[in-house]
Symmetry: C2
Amino acid sequence: MENVIDVIDAVPAEPWQIRETAPLGPRAFLHETLFALGNGYIGLRGTHEEGGAAGLEGSYLNGFYENEAIHYPENAYGLARTNEFMLNVPNAKCIALTVEGERFVFDAGKLLAYERSLDFRKGVLERTVEWESPQGHRVRIDSRRLVCFGRKHVAAIEYRVTALNFAGRVEIASRIDSEVTNLQAGDDPRVGSAVTGPALSTLSREADGEGELLLQRTRNSGFLLATGMRHVCATASAGRGAVHAFGASLREGEALTLHKFIAYVSSRDVAEDEVPRLAREEMARAAQDGFAHLVAEQGVYLDRFWREADVQIEGDDALQQGVRFNQYHLLQSVGRDGRTNIAAKGVTGEGYEGHYFWDTEIYVFPFFLFSRPEIARALLQYRYNGLPKARERARQMSHATGALYPWRTIAGEECSAYYPAGTAQYHINADVAYSIRLYLLATGDFDFIAQYGAEIVMETARIWTGIGSYDREGRFCINEVTGPDEYTALVNNNYYTNAMARMHMRFAADMAERLRAERPADFARVAGAIGLEDGEIAAWRSASAAMRLPYDEALGIHEQDDSFLSKKPWDFAGTPKDKYPLLLHYHPLVIYRHQVCKQADVVLALLLLSDEFSLDDKRRDFDFYERVTTHDSSLSSCIFSMVANEVGYADKAYHYFMETARLDLDNTHANTEYGVHTAAMAGTWLGVAYGFAGMRLTGSGLRFAPALPGKWTSYRFQVHVQGALLAVSVDAAGVHYKLADGESLAFTHHGTAVQLTRANPDIRLEAA
Amino acid sequence: MENVIDVIDAVPAEPWQIRETAPLGPRAFLHETLFALGNGYIGLRGTHEEGGAAGLEGSYLNGFYENEAIHYPENAYGLARTNEFMLNVPNAKCIALTVEGERFVFDAGKLLAYERSLDFRKGVLERTVEWESPQGHRVRIDSRRLVCFGRKHVAAIEYRVTALNFAGRVEIASRIDSEVTNLQAGDDPRVGSAVTGPALSTLSREADGEGELLLQRTRNSGFLLATGMRHVCATASAGRGAVHAFGASLREGEALTLHKFIAYVSSRDVAEDEVPRLAREEMARAAQDGFAHLVAEQGVYLDRFWREADVQIEGDDALQQGVRFNQYHLLQSVGRDGRTNIAAKGVTGEGYEGHYFWDTEIYVFPFFLFSRPEIARALLQYRYNGLPKARERARQMSHATGALYPWRTIAGEECSAYYPAGTAQYHINADVAYSIRLYLLATGDFDFIAQYGAEIVMETARIWTGIGSYDREGRFCINEVTGPDEYTALVNNNYYTNAMARMHMRFAADMAERLRAERPADFARVAGAIGLEDGEIAAWRSASAAMRLPYDEALGIHEQDDSFLSKKPWDFAGTPKDKYPLLLHYHPLVIYRHQVCKQADVVLALLLLSDEFSLDDKRRDFDFYERVTTHDSSLSSCIFSMVANEVGYADKAYHYFMETARLDLDNTHANTEYGVHTAAMAGTWLGVAYGFAGMRLTGSGLRFAPALPGKWTSYRFQVHVQGALLAVSVDAAGVHYKLADGESLAFTHHGTAVQLTRANPDIRLEAA
């Protein structure tokens, strides 16, 4: 096979796509992730129809999971008991091609041409292969694959084979591979799950001339899963058992085309007896509409998405490609049915076991809130649906009232098997409250608050008065928690946690009081449901007012926790590069006893609670924490970029942004093989809007403070906010704000008040 | 079966023994532990020869282990990788009795008489049973069992059956049961191990007319184990396979007696090819010497032990029984070959998996040091032999130099699978150093220091300069450790740890300098071996001088760690009794964030570093910590008793002492079924010597401050110290000190100097 250069990480000719020009090679495993397709429910890794995955043959359904008891070598009360993990479901993509009796595989014969691309506007993975068999038969294979954004349960493949230099028999055999298993976790805690053996048992496999329906059940979680395929081909199927073969004798230049329509439905989505019916219906409908129709639908869907969500950056095509790649993968990954969420790796791999984290609320949520608010609302709905489990978890953690969200989960069960960097991250509760607050600020949708939000916010606020206590100086302290920075665990008065808890309790009190005033019936219902007692609202106010927020007078910085500054500084000079990330080279005790951060913690508070800090504070904090942060977490660089922008460190802002924007495309964290980093992907969008454009939406309103990085000619993005759609364009000449939709919008630009209306829909101002 | 009252916990007629009068019943599982026999190597639980264990049929060899990989549901770098656990070895006690074809079992037929007793002076478990078979044949079974103190590898059984009311056939069948497995750990982290399946595979089973030798190999640790039995009986063996049957036709009143000699030898003790040979030799020698001889030897051994070690308490027979029971079990449990140590549960059960902890150095060691110094020396030798593994562990924990002892281990590997209450307890290093210091103070044996002790002390001291750092105020801080109190974990500047580290570093510096001055060749050898660098001794002195020792001015108490006093006090009033021990009812995070102690921490420092505190300090600390301590650890009450004595709280001292002294006999911690609590047993002895008699041996010398508890008529104990054997007797009339052996001894009595010599060997003084 000739050695074709792989150009995915070179500057793309067209920053709307990714492209590869060789099927194998050292980056093949990585590319299986990058070329993954998804629609927020189905996720198919970018492996080939013909098999031979370089890394991991994976098909996933967002929110569909198996569970398994967690075994601890040394047990303790209240540790998470059951793990939920995203299951690798049957691979329905399988197609085998035989040319005059010779089986097509990439590593036999001669590869005459190869290209594969994924265009973010089309949402179709396209591949062209020209191959000469060992016996000299040349064929072209044109295949297209899509996972339908508009059809939750459907994926489809077009597979066309053209005889190039011969007349003869071509056979395309299609099947569903049910013998799939999940990856085994090795020593890296960030990879795969601990499950062993097959998790799905097959109940039935019904095949007919049109296709097949496979019914399986998960061993422990007990879900029914239907995986189906249905074929449309000029020739009839000559199936043998589970294999459906389509053969034709082609003349030179003639082609045989197979359309394969795939459906996945599970009893997590619909009632048991609906599962096979829905799968059959969806396949039949797709087959009837036809492959071309699905492609057209996909284009329409993406057209709308990009019209509103596209971030345009002129002057750096590689970056432009990265930014769009990230947004596209977010759209592919996010659950939008209120019962699912967005996993740390989306539906592209098994890293972190398909779990949902705070990444959603703090990173991904704002992107959708400002780009596709209805998806953001569905993410909040997911948390509302998780309240019963969160209440159970709170009881396990000895909280008499309230709800404690799991640190990592799929269906709501706490799945964190290492509590110092899991359950101890109580800030998850405040993160959820923060996203609800931001939702209200951005949409004004108080109906949602009345119906769902207030209950979440109040139930979760109660945990703070439960966990916290007043010290001898009367300060409200929150002890024995872990903040966002996982290189420091089980500390007292983590700055981020305390500051966010204060925001949370104040917001809970505000919402309770507003609800009581404006919608007394709703207030009565919610208060009754959660058994809110007299004095709780006042207790939130008191605790907020007395909140301990560590500040070091000598250094003039906010201390990450009560003891952070009295720890020994990490010896960065003496730490060779191959010892990063530290977590893979040092015992937690070694890391924890040093002044070293994995990621933004105080710096994240500077961003989220922007109004609570002076600019000088922010700069001093940034300076200090930048020196001690490794950014071993993919959640870090984007935050540093945004704050660097705010404090006027343009070069650093650009550097950290670039660390984030192509993190997966360039595999800078060296584990994208196991899935994309959805939080960093969203951090890229935030890096533009919150970062370079200085956007903040707080209780004091919406503001922008745009700057143009020296390397860019211009950039442009849009935000849905307060019923309007605002387009922000920044170039050397200045900033152009335009009300693309809506009646009016007020905000500030570098402190100056701006008001756009239908009558005066745009304004051009100077950048920084 | 008639319901016989079980009198073990009633006041014994004879405080030299324990006795039971029913073989079954609710306490049977517990009694299997209490009636366990051991010799520091072999341990046989007090199950019956005929089987039918109520709880656990267990036979153990101290230091003989299997290992197994530890699997974490969420992994991290440097976590303990391999567990070593004490193996349940073949049960060689098995004897089956058949009377005229009817098998003797306790729960069939009629039990006409039953008594079992263990006399601490004899060291023989004696049982008498009169039984009537369902067909009406009456027999008396007299059995005696011993594990030879003087023969490491040997145990023996005498089994005599007398036909009481019939003439007929009696058959005694003997065998080794090789189908044994370890207990499975349930939810209680203190019980059993996580191993599954059989750990021993049988290589051969050689039987002849005299007995049998079973050779097995452990699956992972690879040790060879020989389990042998050899019989002496009036009739010849008629073995069938692995069963050796001895039958006789008895006339009424006639008896058949079987002597069974058992040997256990493993390749942890001797070279592989020596294993079967040594087992055969030991059995042959025992058989030749005869059972009566072994019983006599046992008496001689114990006679010497009690002559020196007996603590006599007049006025409370139940207590006297408890005290002796504890000392006796310590003698049964302690390894004395320099390669083994004393497990938390001795060799009586599988709790804590047969692991050795700091319990040895801080609790058990002083008992042996003052009662049997050569055993104490063997315990230190064990730590010396563990240095290479401790160095490896230090490297894993990123210490460039030095040695870090494992928190729990058998052969030296860190086996703690929950590092916050395991590896984080760095104080283990100082505990070992403390015992070496005490050894030197008690024996003056500087040869030991030069040969072994200095190397241990210096290598382990290096960890403190490695882990510690100077804070901004120039104080030497030790961060992110766990002190003795396991209800508070991963804290900064744990008082006990810091104070003990200071003692340790000072002692290391002292020993280094004394060695250099007195034995320069030894110093050069040790310094060379460990690569001691210039400045290290000075660094120990500097760190000691600058050591941060948290003290709260407002309360006038030593703070357990930097944050202990700012935590929320535990709601003791609101905690029902059935929620203790807390660790079984609350998540670690809940416990850790409260002001609550499982056990003595600062209070232990008050005892061990007695000279560093004023009496007022001690009283205030005691008052404070007593209020927040649950004593959920069996290591706690004895320490509180000793310090209560010192600060003048006689009633509390007595109360805590009583909590300790009969902890296992009365099963007050409700888990003695899984093994005795060796640390509390030693704490009982300490509770008399250190507690009521106020003995301390520190750098400023030996002192006593005896008091007589109101309920006692008198008490008496002896200590080996500085080459002398001192007898201390306390009664209402006063205190009698007598030099029982040695040339002279100087000490203080309530501050008054006393000097005893051969010429003036005793003195009578007033008690407190």
